[in-house]
Symmetry: D3
Subunit: 137 residues, 6 copies
């Protein structure tokens, strides 16, 4: 159970209803998901989060599915149960195949392992990586 | 400074030299990076890690660059300095553009924010996500 | 279910009962919460934790509510479900208003985002922060 | 060294200069800090982050210093070196005394300990916390 | 509920059945646990993980129980619920006594506290630790 | 550089000198390490931490070296640079061999990987682990 009530559309304030309407229209759903119902207790955060999420997840130099894969990877590493479920579902809805999901999990798992080994041994960063790390503008 | 010495090619055992030769050939480099030099103190881990990393990072249902982007995302979330530098450099070498890098950072930053909000409010997982989370085989 | 049994007052050893009595008296409750019942399996840790928690959470240069807000912030970041629930409840009991809770969540969410961006870009620490970081004695 | 160049005011685009001007004016400083110079490589993120940070850190139901203390707590838990330094400095500038800093560290340290114990023993959440967790609107 | 179906032995492919047979034989159990049933959706990861886990958890310079204690410590710190339960059970099966478990939890809790204090104060590493950190070959 | 000054013995208060004397005597060293010099800015935390650390790290059901291995494992997972260095050095001083260190790193690395996979797939906990997780008293 959430630490705040889940605000349903019917009992929401006009301010919140406006955001719910927008989410439902953009995402083509009948009802917003629990994350938004919880955030609706905090209208300022609700509006800001919805706005920013749309901007950030807009297909651009990275396509929509790639952005969801990254979102899953961060959510797993951050152990956010809600986000793991919701973004894995979103990625599937955007076309993620079982083969892609398997490869994502394999990369995430391996990255955790090498992250731990590099951290554990306090490996110093190579000079060439310091120079090469910046993508050219 | 690492917790173990960095093993240089010249002083490496034949077992380690064989792995270094393979890395240098596959990656087309003159010298392996510090991560492998540190791991070389632990030959069993060295061999296993190199072998697995090759399998996992092989282009497949996800292409090589997408895999690097996921690796960066996990490394940032895991705060692995070495890995952030090395994989950001690797992604650039595999063609990541500044625009792609900006979008990656934006998604990673936003994911951290919504992960924290969802966790903080202990939002319950929606039924439809539990059903939809599994990619169809 | 916990990895250890939850020890109820009735079946607790005299040593544990003494700690439970103290917690119940200080906190003005009829029964200790599950955290203490679980810790009761490890009497040394139980005594030490209760003693230290009292010292640390004593109102001082920071008042009791501020200390709970900090506790919630750490618990969210550490993804400790038990602690998120218990400390959010404790903060409410100490007078945290919905407006304060909203602002706390907003700060926690934003801090996660900027933490991720600063880490991801490996931003070097400014000289003035190194000098200014120490509160004057 | 950052993974992106630090953009100095002199060589910044008009779009970035406008944000730098605003930060310098609002914060009454001669130059923005490295975090903004790094973010300046990503103008969309720069503008959005500066705007949101101002909104979130505005004194309100929580005062400015309390918000910085929360920011430090999250940054320590997230191991963001840059953020630990910059927000500890900011808190000092906003009046954090050594006594307050000591108490903050004590709470953060203790929270980490009890978080780990509660997680390690998988303590089930008490019913009364589930009910009491929601601040009344 | 997992993001993938749990594959039961009866409906598993021959490739997966072979791995399940091996796990059941080596671990002397009638059925593999849910982790393997979930991983069975990703046969490449399943085979690799089982193989590596056997190699890594083999008693050697560290005995089997010590390895499980380390595994619990990492799992608690990584907040992996599944792993906390399964490895605490495995350690008990390998002879971990309540006294050993209490001491493990005490160390894990205290390590979290001093980790947070050292990180929070950005304590510089002592020269003698840099020199002494490397075990002699 | 730390966020607080490092307090040297010569300029320490009598209260702090007493703790430093105790640490130096118990650990048979000429000078305390930087962690204690930093904590010396916060005498209450200094005394409490030193006292608790001694109790927790006392050889008991687990020997001193095993406790250090657990401490290293947590410190790596928590990415505490200071603690990784200091506890790896302490473990070596307590007799950790290169073979033991290699096995420790292998377990820590693998635990990170399976933690991530179990979390990523949201594997439900098996009934037998819920029952078996509790060491018998």
């Amino acid at each position: 159970m959430s630490t705040v009530p889940l605000i349903e559309y019917e009992t929401a304030s006009p301010e919140v209803k406006a955001v719910f309407d927008d989410i439902q229209q953009i995402r083509n759903v009948h009802d917003v998901n629990n994350f938004w119902k919880a955030l609706a207790n905090h209208p300022e955060i609700l509006k800001r989060t919805w706005k920013t999420l749309q901007e950030v997840m807009q297909p651009g130099a990275l396509d929509a599915l790639t952005k969801e894969l990254i979102y899953i990877a961060v959510s797993i590493t951050n152990k956010c149960d809600y986000c793991i479920y919701s973004h894995t579902a979103a990625a599937s809805a955007k076309g993620m195949t079982p083969a892609q999901y398997q490869e994502l999990l394999a990369v995430v798992g391996m990255a955790h392992q090498t992250n731990a080994l590099a951290t554990g041994m306090k490996v110093p960063v190579d000079q060439q990586f310091l120079a090469a790390a910046t993508p050219e503008h």
